[in-house]
Amino acid sequence: MNPEPKIGVYICRCGCDKEGNISATVDVEKLKEAAAAMPGVKAAEVYEFVCSNPGQQMIRDGIKQHKLNRIVVAACSPRMHLETFRRNVKQEGLNPYLLEIANIREQCSWIHEDRKLATIKAIDLVGRAVERARNLKPLEEKTVKVNRDALVIGGGIAGINASIELADKGFQVYLVEKGPSVGGHMAQLGKTFPTLDCSSCIITPKMVYVAQHPLIKILSLSEVTKVEGMPGNYKITITKRPRSVDASKCTACGECSRKCPVTVKSEFEVGMGQRKAIYQPFRQAVPSAYYIDREHCLYFTKGICKVCQKFCKASAVDFTQQEETIELNVGAIVVSTGYELLDPHYVKQYSYGLHPDIVTHLQFERLLVQGLHRPSTGEQPKKIAFILCVGSRMTQNGVGNGNGNGNGEEGDACEYCCNIGCMNAIKEAYVFQKEVPDADPWVFYTDIRAHGKGYEEFYARLRNHGVRFVRGRTAEVMPHNGSLRVRAADTLLGLPIEEDFDMVVLSAGLTPSQGTDNLARMVGIHTGSDGFFLERHHKLRPVDTQREGVYACGCALGPKDIRETITESMAAASHVASFLGKGEVAVSSEVAIIDDKKCDNCEKCITICPARAIVKTSETHVEINPMSCIGCGICVPVCPKNAIDLNHNTEAQLMGQIRGNPPKEDLSPKIVAFIEKNTAYAAADLAGQTRSQYGANVRIVSVPSVGRVGLKHMLQVFASGADGVALIEGEDSSFTGDKVREHLTRLKKELQPYGIESLRLVSTTTTIPQYPKMVETFEVFNSRLFKMGPLSPKVRSEIEKKLKEVQ
């Protein structure tokens, strides 16, 4: 038995007397009068600052005094104080979902200057809020328990450090690594800048810690193949490739490797060294167990040899190992997949691949660690050219060649700066000088980027050390008579420089790791225009992704140095801890529900649901998973049996808001704009904040998605006095621009037989900063409707009659 709704309307001046942000334009006394006269309204008050303590007290007093069970606050945008008002009414024993806010500031008083018009509009907005409030129902705030384990994808320094941080906080961590060992690219580096710490000395203790930590489980040779579930409860499927060595028995003595007859280029040495078919990528590998490369192993390719097994004293070699599938349940995911080097073959003028002494900066690191020598002769190089920006800062790879994003397409290059090339080259020049007497390093640069702590000082020190710097992007590298002729313009002098070098080191651009796009799709997150994973917000949420419970850190987000990587990994771990720490996560109650009695299993809703939240549980039963439902309401108008309703935006509530309590005199033509409640609504607010102007005949109704609006609602809108309808969706919505257009086209077709011209409908998508586009849409629509004139009263009354026919 639902008690009769007793509505209280509280109007804010948002300032004193007639100077308030609202009262300056809206006649709040008149508004109060009109509100008090609306059906069901038992109390109507005006106050300076309704959000303040006295204001809140006033509401609580009202609830007590008049036994109010519905509250309408006519004030600033709900994006400001919705939670405050909800907490307030909860204090007085009222369910927080029985509160409605009418936005008469950002979407009214700040937009219009004419007092009369603004007041008429405010009355309309409050009238709609009152009707919606009348139909509000109490809802429970639900939480669901979260799984307290975390998955870290990628075992480089970012993943290693994030794992350590999380494990130290008490979370169980699964660290998934594609290769046979963790360590990533950092394990390949020699010295690091600017402190000249040895990279291995920093990372190996961390690798050991990760191996020994009771709460960290390393899954090497593994890749994630499926991600299901929801934030707080993800189900992960992992494929683990066979090591062909029993890791529990292997002592890493290396005897197998010594005896193995197959030699191939070592990936860890980036081709600057070799390994056997059974090998350990590097001495400090974690896990330390050896690994058989089945593509080159003679047993797996030809069925012969098995020498490693013969000589293994621990009997650890196991040719029978198979690929494994592992399933895990975790609450949060950290993506730390690192980077790859751009293939310098694409920058043809540097002749990479045409001479063994032209190497990438990573290959040079390995040579430095091995004891610097020329790959061609084995002798010490005396003169080295370090060439920066190879493949970086390029919008095109030569005239008219399109730009890929460094992912290996023809003509590829990176538009962004690699961030570490300058400092790395300077460091390498220094180490070169330390190792070789009479070393003569030259650095050919476009701009020296020494942005980090201690970097500029390091650069200055090295200039004093006799490292030669030439300002000019290198034009070409020509192998010639055993040496390498480098040509560049010294742009500071305006003259070309040509010199022969023993070696050329190319600072290649850094690109997203292979498989980034695939992983993004799997996990449900986005990549940016540079191909790297995209953070949720550039400044405020740099390690969060678009999906709750999924975080990213390190070079997976974009090229950066080790210090920034560590910082991000700590931030990601901290966010995971906040997310999982409470042990439970809030689940929205604003979800869709199916009335079994009306449902005929047509499955139209299943097809249309963008979150795949609706499933067929049996031949005769369709269910909506409340955990997966994102509350967009697109399924509601799609159901031919009207079997679906959406909590907190029910049919009764929406229709009520559409009918509203129209003011006695109103503007013509009238536009009702259905605006998606997150991004598009924020854009509309921003229009108000910036005091943009558009017609006072535009009345905004907030909806979860414009897909929520169907034929029935459109008919009601026109029947209730509108002459035009606008649908505005956020660009990041699951109801994409294409779908919005489709939806509009369908609605136009459906409305035609009722005599509603298709030009009376308009739709667009917007991002938050694109609010001028929204304003322009309103203005253009307005002038169009002025020319067309209001909807014919005959059509309107026909529709009212026919409304009874449409269920």
């Binding site: 043809k348 003028q349 045409l354 030569g398 005239v399 008219g400 060649n401 020509m478 010639h480 002729r485």
Partner: protein, 292 residues
């Protein structure tokens, strides 16, 4: 294999050897070069374009229209013509406003071009239509390890999005031809460096400075001769070689031959048919032992 042959202005004059030797080689390989009737100057790269860009494109367009009438692709010997015609073709495809203007001009002259013609260099035909195997099959005279410096020049290989033929930094087409006919390619640094092109006509000093470096580098790499695919490069390196020697007081003395002349020699075609006597720097000593 029939093609609409665009000789270019220099083929009948300053690069006579090129035209003559190409015809001889084509006969052996079964290539029919059908000269486009009443062809006009393509615009010569920058020469007309700097004066009047639309005029330059229209000049090229007339030739494209004439070739389209013949229902054949254009094949040219001159790298500069190759570039000029290719660029005009590309611009006409990309810029519909430009195409509209040019279409109007062509129509007024009773012509039309719908965009179907491809522009190719003779080298492209040799490599891709004839094939290296067929070329090798026709070799009758051993070049006996003749050391050849293949010189590509500019317009044959750059810019890659217009000419789209060989690698712009490390091309191999000429090298492959030389190998196919039994020559030995000499590796030297300047095979793609500009000789100065039309500067040879207007700023001869600048051209000579640029060409001198090429010639000396080839000489220092012990080349017996340099093969070229372009009339202007040939003019600058061959006809002007003596001037370069005297201006810079250097000794060069390297014969410059068109690659078709070298091919002709390998095929056993007589020096007269290859117009070997027209090269300014004498080729006599070079081919004495090879002439049948």
């Amino acid at each position: 294999m029939k093609y609409a042959y665009f000789p270019g202005c220099s083929i009948h004059t300053t690069a006579r050897e090129y035209g003559v030797s190409s015809q001889a080689v084509s006969k052996v390989l079964g290539i029919e070069l059908v000269e486009i009737p009443d062809w006009n100057c393509c615009g010569a790269m920058d020469a007309v374009y700097a004066y009047n860009p639309l005029l330059s494109i229209s000049l090229s367009a007339r030739n494209l229209a004439l070739a389209e009438k013949m229902k054949m692709d254009i094949v040219t010997l001159c790298s500069a013509c190759f570039f000029t015609l290719s660029r005009a073709n590309k611009l006409l495809h990309e810029d519909s406003e430009l195409k509209g203007k040019v279409d109007k001009l062509l129509t007024e002259s009773g012509l039309q071009y719908s965009g179907e013609v491809k522009v190719r260099h003779y080298l492209d035909v040799l490599l891709n239509d004839v094939g290296l195997e067929n070329i090798s099959k026709n070799v009758k005279v051993k070049l006996d390890g003749l050391k050849v410096a293949p010189y590509y020049g500019c317009m044959l290989i750059r810019p890659p999005n217009v000419v789209n033929f060989d690698d712009p930094e490390h091309p191999t087409s000429l090298d492959k031809i030389v190998e196919a006919i039994g020559g030995k390619n000499v590796d030297y640094m300047y095979k793609t460096r500009c000789c100065g092109a039309s500067l040879g006509l207007t700023e001869a000093d600048v051209m000579m400075g640029m060409t001198k470096d090429l010639l000396l580098e080839a000489k220092n790499s012990n080349a017996d001769c340099i093969v070229v695919p372009c009339p202007l490069c040939h003019l600058n390196m061959d006809a002007k070689q003596k001037s370069i020697e005297s201006t810079f007081d250097v000794k060069i003395g390297i014969p410059i031959v068109f690659f078709t002349q070298l091919m002709g020699v390998a095929f056993g075609i007589s020096p007269k048919e290859l117009a070997l006597d027209k090269n300014c720097v004498s080729t006599d000593k070079l081919f004495k032992q090879l002439h049948a």
